[in-house]
């Protein structure tokens, strides 16, 4: 099969469950709506392009080209395609796949039924376990300096919490208190609190085998609010992929759905999750 041939994906998906590319250990998650809609029975294997097999053949070339452009540029991919349902029929969906982090092949995607507002969005998360950190840390530093140069925060909060279960509620309460006076809509606040709560959970539950700390940093700028959760541990490997044991995938999907501008930088020194909400001027 040619790697640049989108038509190859149907036969590949049908006959060969093994993924075409596997970048080491990875977090791969699809929500229950995805499995219910597609009838996809293979919960284990997932490639970056797994969804192409469910796109109508006439839409596949256009979607493939747009996806390749977005993927190489690390930009958000949006495309309307017909997606195959378990019964073989096709329904128009808006696909949206956003990068997790500027330097990694890590993505969070969703598909919305264009003709049924009540249909649950189909979601997926693909986050490779990372090995090369120097580039990422440099990029993270560059990101930070751009923010510092262009903007000065109006208000700033930085607080350290022990990585223990009771801290999750304390982190949420501290952030809610800090943002209470910020010019941020109720809807944005709900989504931000949800996303930060999940990021805090990950840091508390997965970063440390023994004691450790979690830092909450929040900054309100004239045109944006940025919230970061930082830990200094290393996320422990996932256990078996049964539904109960994969809250982390579900949490990542929720984080990406709640606040699409999310970046995750991971290194042996720790994990840095950054959420940004922009306000129209």
């Amino acid at each position: 099969m040619r790697a640049d041939d989108p038509d190859a994906y149907e036969s590949t998906a049908a006959t060969q469950p093994a993924p075409a590319e596997v970048a080491g250990e990875k977090i791969a998650y699809r929500n229950p709506a995805w499995f219910a809609y597609t009838g996809d029975a293979d919960a284990q294997n997932m490639t970056t392009d797994f969804w192409l097999a469910y796109v109508h053949p006439d839409d596949r070339r256009g979607a493939w080209d747009a996806w390749q452009n977005a993927r190489s540029a690390k930009t958000i991919f949006t495309h309307v395609v017909r997606l195959r349902r378990a019964d073989g029929s096709y329904r128009a969906h808006r696909l949206r796949i956003a990068p997790f982090a500027a330097t990694d092949d890590a993505w969070v995607g969703s598909a919305e039924d264009l003709h049924d507002d009540d249909a649950a969005p189909l979601q997926h998360v693909l986050l490779p376990e990372l090995t090369d950190h120097s580039t990422r840390m440099r990029d993270a530093a560059a990101d930070a300096s751009i923010v510092e140069e262009d903007l000065r925060p109006i208000a700033r909060l930085e607080e350290t919490f022990p990585a223990e279960p009771l801290s999750a509620a304390k982190i949420r309460a501290a952030l809610a208190h800090f943002l209470a006076s910020a010019p941020i809509s109720e809807d944005d606040l709900f989504h931000l609190m949800l996303a930060v709560g999940e990021a805090a959970n990950n840091a508390i539950e997965h970063a440390y085998v023994g004691p450790g700390n979690v830092v909450l940093r929040a900054q309100v700028f004239a045109h944006a609010t940025i919230v970061e959760i930082v830990d200094f541990g290393r996320w422990r490997p996932l256990r078996a992929m049964d539904d109960r044991a994969r809250p982390r995938g579900r949490g990542l999907a929720m984080m990406g759905a709640a606040v699409p501008d999310m970046r995750i930088h991971r290194s042996p020194a720790g994990t840095h999750v950054r959420f940004a909400l922009e306000r129209p001027t």
Partner: protein, 104 residues
């Protein structure tokens, strides 16, 4: 005919309450009819949602029935919408509607 078992949850369901939530749900694992009142729950995280999904699935597989009382527009309802779980749960807004669900 006995009444459905009622479980009322309140406060913030997160990593600190997960084990007790799991225990409360395990106690319902063999019940035929259950009502779970979430009207006083102010926050729910994704891991607690995974427990909701587990319980809903467990009841479905046994052909038992569980109804969830959730206020429209509440935090819980919005989180269930985002996660897509709302599609797989029987949700009502009031205790009266929950009882009517079983009387039907």
């Amino acid at each position: 005919m006995t009444d459905p078992r009622l479980l009322t949850l309140s406060g913030e369901l997160d990593v600190a309450t997960r084990q007790s939530l799991r225990g409360a749900f395990a106690a319902l694992a063999e019940v035929d009819e259950a009502i779970i009142d979430l009207r006083d729950v102010r926050y729910v995280d994704s891991a607690s949602l995974a427990e909701f999904a587990w319980l809903a699935d467990r009841f479905r597989k046994r052909e038992a029935r569980v109804v969830w009382i959730i206020l429209p527009g509440s935090h819980v309802e919005r989180v269930l919408q985002i996660s897509g779980l709302v599609q797989t749960m029987a949700i009502v807004a009031t205790p009266e509607a929950a009882r009517a669900h079983f009387a039907a």
